[in-house]
Subunit: 387 residues, 2 copies
């Protein structure tokens, strides 16, 4: 095992029903010019927009707005935000929304003072961050990406049809994030379950790779079990505060880097989904769910002991009298059952993909993987299996 | 469930065999005057002292030393350190050692510029921190307290015979901590197992209280299982790098606040042990181990479902055909077996306590507890049960 890492996560989390009470005091730590970034009208519907505007007024801020961030935020939106930051000498980018809005805000943060094309520099060439960044903070309304407590930013370049993620250094992390589970009550069911599967997938991407049996693996299993339990409650009772709280906090823990330290990681399911998303604009978690079962069926033999452990420890599969293959596959079946329980589409067809697209998607994916490097030919096979 | 918390932990962790490579770059972030705090000669024996001095010289620091910090660091040592900080205009307190050395360094940090007696103000009256603090950093050589990634500081007032802990705000956290599991190889076995039980106790103090079944409880169970597995390996092979790495990281996770968010907590075992430590100067984890079994036997009925969960999820107790009481007590028995496996003393007598001390210890403990408020009379009963 490598067990060699740096962990540093300076985001301050305010969690709970009254988390918004901390907003004005936090705003006092930043300069006067705020770029308010959000998506559609939903933050107005739940009254959050008014609360945020009031806090900004009370603290004497000059507010510039950038609205309409898409669920797959785009290169053009990032460039538009970067222009607004420069023109208005922005001191703080305040993201109000889900992962898309926060991801876009981080992209704006690193792009505003970037020399040359930021997309090329940071998302294609993966150059180290070299320009100054503008502080980002977030008020979360949809759970899943953990963007509220990490430095990741996934952006879609529409013309190039590429959705690409980049994890920056912790200076790009939100300085503070406000997490009130009640804000997630009004999220449509498909967005909620998409978020849940996104969280579960983040955990699997870190779990199914490298060496076993270390602290990270046990912690990941714990978060998986908490997520499964709480999701079952939330599906019955969407306004169960404890269940929504658990889901929200599981999401943050799943990708604030604490759960995956010391582990090599996979992320190939995300790699495949990013291209499905670029072609179909499906909700991220739904794309992940569709591709997960055929992907794991394809690779499980290369990490069979871990898939057995997953079946036993996460799903309680009884392995008495069964072969490793049987147990491993039973675990993947249980995962499939959970997807059905979530009510998520299970085929690419349902996401609007056409048969012709499959080849284009497969051959636009970077080959990679945790237990096995999956070639583009194999990717095509996997996509056909879930079409 | 309250599910209402602030989480903020700005300590940067460098973990691994080469973690020391980051020391010089980090030292560059602080001023010229460094107070080097350490315990006994052990850091010289493993060659660490020379490495630290070399890094301090290479970065042009003026070094003041405070050596001989005791395993229960004292009020007098804290006051001596505070004087050194003022006299030498110290910019960074660099703690090299285990939790005692780091705890003492934090106490020095908050005391140096405190008006009035810092013990009275911060450890007795629990006043909010109001003076400036001096940055602390740590190089860890013994694992257990998680002091490397929190703002806790336990100090013993020798004359008053009181050992008292205080958790400060995150500005008192080490700015960075260097964790190389190899530094723990030479720790004597009794210190290693004492550290392991300290970690386990931190987890139980957070676990055995408040509401069940949330994310924190599952995460805590995961850390417990990782710790049990890795300790069994390390007992056989003390230089197994992976096992020592897991123990070290479990220790940090157990008390860097991430595992216990949203939970009411107990900490009564620690409350009892602090007074045992003040009277017998026993290793902290050993005192915890001695008192845990009679304490949990005394309170389990008041949180029986959680003790059943502990037995099943952590120790794999099969509850088929048994009463809740039987399962809960079987879990506590397994915990007792683990203490025996660690080779830790199981009676106060072995720690040098006299029968006359028991009453003095019991009636010097603040009544409290998670599932049940334990009175001083009950405390006396518990102490007699482990004498």
């Amino acid at each position: 095992m490598r067990y060699d890492f740096t962990f540093y996560n300076p985001t301050k989390i305010y969690f709970g029903r009254n988390a918004m009470d901390n907003l004005e005091a936090e705003l006092g730590n930043f300069g006067d010019n705020v770029l308010l970034v959000y998506g559609k009208a939903s933050i107005k519907k739940i009254g959050l927009y008014d609360k945020v505007i009031k806090a900004l007024r009370n603290t004497g801020k000059n507010v510039t707005e950038l609205a309409g961030i898409k669920s797959n935020p785009t290169y053009n939106q990032m460039m538009e935000g970067a222009r607004l930051v420069r023109e208005n000498n922005i001191d703080l980018i305040l993201a109000v929304g889900g992962g898309s809005v926060i991801d876009c805000s981080k992209a704006i943060s690193v792009s505003a003072y970037c020399e040359g094309d930021p997309w090329q520099k940071y998302w294609v060439d993966f150059k180290p961050l070299e320009n100054r960044v503008v502080p980002v903070a977030s008020i979360l309304t949809m759970t899943g990406t953990a963007s509220e407590m990490n430095a990741g930013s996934v952006i879609t370049h529409e013309e190039k049809m590429i959705k690409e993620g980049r994890v920056f250094t912790p200076e790009v992390n939100p300085r503070f994030s406000i997490l009130n589970p009640e804000f997630t009550y009004s999220v449509p069911k498909i967005q909620m379950v998409s978020g849940v599967f996104d969280i579960f997938s983040h955990l699997m991407e870190q779990y199914f790779s490298g060496d076993d049996n270390n602290t990270s693996d046990y912690v990941i299993e714990g978060i998986m079990k908490a997520l499964i339990d709480s999701t079952r409650v939330a599906l019955e009772s969407p306004t169960d505060y404890d269940a929504r709280s658990n889901i929200m906090w599981c999401a943050t823990l799943a990708l604030n880097k604490i759960a995956g330290v010391s582990k090599t990681q996979d992320w190939q399911v995300h790699g495949i989904e990013h291209q499905i998303g670029a072609y179909t604009d499906c909700p991220h978690g739904v794309g992940l769910a569709v591709v997960s079962i055929p992907y794991y069926r394809h690779i499980y033999k290369y990490g069979i002991d871990k898939f057995v452990r997953f079946a036993e420890n996460v799903w309680g599969v009884d392995s008495q009298g069964k072969t490793k293959d049987q147990v491993a596959l039973e675990g993947i079946d249980r995962l499939g059952d959970f997807i059905v329980e979530l009510g998520i589409p299970t085929t690419l067809r349902e996401l609007g993909a056409t048969e012709e697209m499959l080849r284009d998607i497969a051959y636009s994916i970077e080959p990679g993987g945790g237990y096995k490097v999956v070639s583009q030919d194999e990717m095509y096979e996997i996509l056909r299996a879930c079409y």
